[in-house]
Symmetry: C2
């Protein structure tokens, strides 16, 4: 009998460093756990409004710890990492581009774009809220930047991102990254080991 593959919904904002570190680990995670990941960029600012949360950098003490923790995580994951000069940023453009790609070029291309956008922002400190930088990210993976910029102004694409964000908040997503494993919620990249146990054991 073949086991059905677990579905992991991976909610994130492109401006979230912990989502970047999670993204870098998702491939390995799924190789081990044997599951399918659905990437779901969203607008974390809207979730912060609903939950009363704030960006890490605006939280005394937690901000300093997080900087230290991220440097440490980057070394652990072996990832390119630099703290961006501008943080946080508006990630509407990147998130819309993702959903446009998912609908037209398929999930693999959308994922490739997501990794390229994360790498530009957190790996190289480039401000992906700047349309020119985003166009360069597109070009770097063989996309037409003009078509992408046009798609980001399309009402259907805009509505899609709004819908995904609203749905995320309705489902209780208040931070990034936030996962659902066959519906079971897990907040934070620190929960990847527990998620792995959940997937392996079928839950408890």
């Amino acid at each position: 009998m073949q086991m059905a593959s677990k579905l992991i919904e991976f909610y994130f904002d492109f401006s979230s460093p912990y989502a970047y570190f999670a993204a870098l680990q998702m491939e390995d995670f799924c190789d081990v756990a044997g599951c399918t990941v659905m990437w779901r960029p969203m607008m974390l600012g809207a979730a912060f409004k609903a939950s009363g949360n704030k960006p890490l950098t605006e939280q005394p003490m937690k901000a300093e710890y997080s900087r230290h923790d991220m440097d440490r995580l980057a070394r652990k994951v072996g990832a390119p990492w630099r703290w961006p000069d501008t943080f946080p940023i508006a990630t509407l453009g990147a998130a819309r581009a993702f959903y446009w790609l998912e609908g037209t070029a398929g999930v693999e291309k959308a994922k490739e774009f997501a990794m390229a956008a994360f790498d530009a922002y957190f790996g190289h400190g480039r401000n992906i809220s700047d349309p020119e930088v985003l166009a360069e990210v597109a070009t770097s993976i063989g996309l037409d930047p003009v078509a992408m910029a046009k798609a980001c102004k399309d009402d259907k694409v805009k509505d899609r991102l709004r819908f995904e964000t609203e749905e995320a908040i309705e489902r209780g997503v208040f931070g990034s990254p936030f996962f659902f494993v066959d519906g079971e919620p897990f907040w934070g990249q620190d929960r990847l080991p527990m998620m792995q146990e959940w997937v392996n054991s079928g839950g408890w």
Copy 2:
């Protein structure tokens, strides 16, 4: 050549459910990792004042997730668990009693008291901010409740807790549990797996 044992400083507030779950795992953690744990109760409210943080129950969305998460953690750890009717509570008494015991009866007795206090509050929902309940906790592990109540009003004991709390905040402790592994900071019981890797590998 014998390796020096790693020192783990374990900061917590007796009113912190995640600290309760961490406390339940510390023995096993150290059996595997081979380290010494120094338990450090503190007043989390003072750290919240310094960091602008709030109790979980006062944070929309995060509160609901945490409740679900704690039920799940309790099942995982196999621990007695019930959400206390009164939360959060003032834990001055329990924390002072801990330091009094550490100074007079030794670290093992202090740890036994800490586990009994945690068990009363989170395992059985009993309000340990009530002096009568705290006295019963003391009696249950063979302590003299009258001597303990007296010690909790002793200036030296009070000063000790104040000192430990101030030192914790100076060192950047903004949440509970919070650990230092030979000085390296880790926040949250979700970081136990990473701490284990840190101890095993000597850090990275």
